[in-house]
Amino acid sequence: MKPARRISPLIGILPLVLILAAWQGLAMSGRVTENQLPSLYVVVMRLLEQLASPAYLSDVGITLFRLFVGFFIALVLGVGLGMAAARSRVGAAVVVPIVRVLGPIPKVALYPAFILLLGFDHSSKIALVVADAAFPILLATLHGARSVESKLIWSALAAGTPRSRIVTSVVLPAAMPSILTGCRIGLVISCVVVFLAEMITSTDGLGHQLVIASRSFLTVDMFVALIAISLLGLVLNFLLGRARRFFLRGFPEES
């Protein structure tokens, strides 16, 4: 009944291999030109070549920097505001309507304003990442914090935990499963958005490499950039899985 949770995570490689095979098959099938879908081999060789070049690596570094700074700020904001909204009336009265109003606004459309206010550099791109990634984290936190079993909070209050510390000491850990789900979504959104921002006004970063390649129809370089971001996604997924297992080790769903 309870399926053995001992399934090697390695089988996750299978669909990836299938996709790569489909790619290669398609590239060789003649249905697409080499330019629309270059062969896997060419892309991989080019990727290795690029990864050896310090200039390319510095672009990767810049993108990573923006990604992490943006995500981290979004995390702090999202969890902080989410907790405030879930745990205090004033917080709810202020945060919930603001979130309802600001949340659905497409932030990309605000990017020109960010540029005007913050310039072309890191800060406007980071701001866009924050604006997009904070929202899912906030909603997940709100949901998680609101569904904390009230007796957990009661126990803590009765143990003399000051109200000010209830949030960090009970609500936060109890809402952790939901928060981590929000983080996963926020992280993916951060990846997409940092790229998007770098593509819109591009001076550096992986997104810039992508745009340059795409504008001059260097499909191989385009795919190199796309694969780089995919690999980034894989690495982040692995780290997140680790974090999850650590934070949720006591929760029944993580057995």
Binding site: E34, N35, P112, F120, T201, S202, I212, S216, F217, T219
Partner: protein, 302 residues
């Protein structure tokens, strides 16, 4: 009834805007053939759409047809020319603030220069202008992508030391004052061709009559653009949603790009541009303009 899928852009394709908004003026359009309009953001997506055979004709620039041929192996035929520069017309230029210490191109050393898009067409004359003045475009200056629209503000707020101005933003900036022209594209590359109309070569080969009909209407549309400025202002305003009062400051005036009533592609000028792109490193090899010329299937066709 045959259909052409046409990619279009804003802001400077008045002939196409006429065809979109005043189709009744073009008897063949709608009776002999139909147009499916698809708007794009930039000419390289149009080229990618060519590659994917998602559109048949559309807006191009000399640079993107060249790159498309070399890198994407997409063969295109240039059928018409929308706007370009002449010695008397507007020319895209780089401006600095009035009180800027930058007096000449040489003073740009170590400065931040705004460009619309890195590697765009007007990037080539900039690079060549810098090189001519002994500056290495890679190391001596820092190029920043600003796009055309936010460029004026980037200059005024000091985020770039010199920025690029195009219409209609140049007219607006000039009206406001405070900026000074440093050099223009024409100073380096006279007779710059900005916007072309091109079709996939295979499409032209298969549907020569259809394309000819399209060219015929384009040509007649350009006639109307030039003949009836008040109506053109209205048409452009309907498409771009820019108020007529704003358009009135430059559109089809002395400070606008040049337009040819016959929309004839200036193949020699395009060739010279292609050469300069190759020289500036924007294109990886030399390209002969003849590869974009499909017999006599190009404007003007009356």
């Amino acid at each position: 009834q045959q259909v052409i899928r046409v990619g279009w852009l804003i802001p400077a394709e008045e002939a196409k805007y006429w065809m979109m908004k005043r189709p009744a003026e073009f008897p063949q359009l709608g009776s002999k053939y139909k147009i499916e309009w698809v708007q794009f953001q930039g000419t390289s997506p149009v080229m990618q759409a060519f590659a994917a055979k998602a559109v048949d004709c559309g807006t191009q620039t000399p640079l993107s047809v060249g790159q498309g041929l070399i890198e994407a192996k997409v063969q295109t035929s240039i059928i018409a020319q929308h706007v370009f520069e002449t010695p008397t017309s507007f020319s895209v230029y780089w401006a600095v603030k009035d009180d800027s210490p930058i007096k000449s191109v040489k003073d740009l050393k170590g400065k931040r220069i705004g460009v619309s898009v890195l590697g765009a067409g007007v990037y080539a004359p900039l690079v060549q202008m810098l090189e001519k003045n002994g500056l290495d475009p890679k190391t001596d200056v820092k190029m920043i992508e600003t796009g055309f629209a936010p460029s004026e503000d980037a200059i005024r707020s000091g985020r770039v030391d010199a920025g690029v101005l195009n219409q209609p933003f140049a007219a607006r900036a000039e009206a406001k004052g405070g900026l000074r022209k440093l050099f223009s594209v024409a100073d380096q590359q006279p007779n710059f061709v900005h916007i072309l109309e091109a079709c996939r070569k295979d499409f032209v080969d298969q549907n020569p009559e259809l394309v000819k009909a399209y060219i015929r209407d384009l040509t007649s549309a350009m006639g109307k653009v030039l003949a009836n400025r008040p109506e053109t202002l209205k048409v452009v305003s309907e498409v771009t949603k820019a108020p007529v009062s704003v358009l009135d400051t430059y559109l089809l005036k002395g400070n606008d790009f040049a337009r040819d009533p016959g929309m004839a592609p200036n193949f020699p000028a395009i060739q010279s541009l292609l050469d300069s792109f190759t020289q500036a490193g924007l294109m990886s090899q030399k390209v002969d303009v003849a590869s974009f010329r499909n017999g006599d299937i190009h404007a003007p066709i009356k």
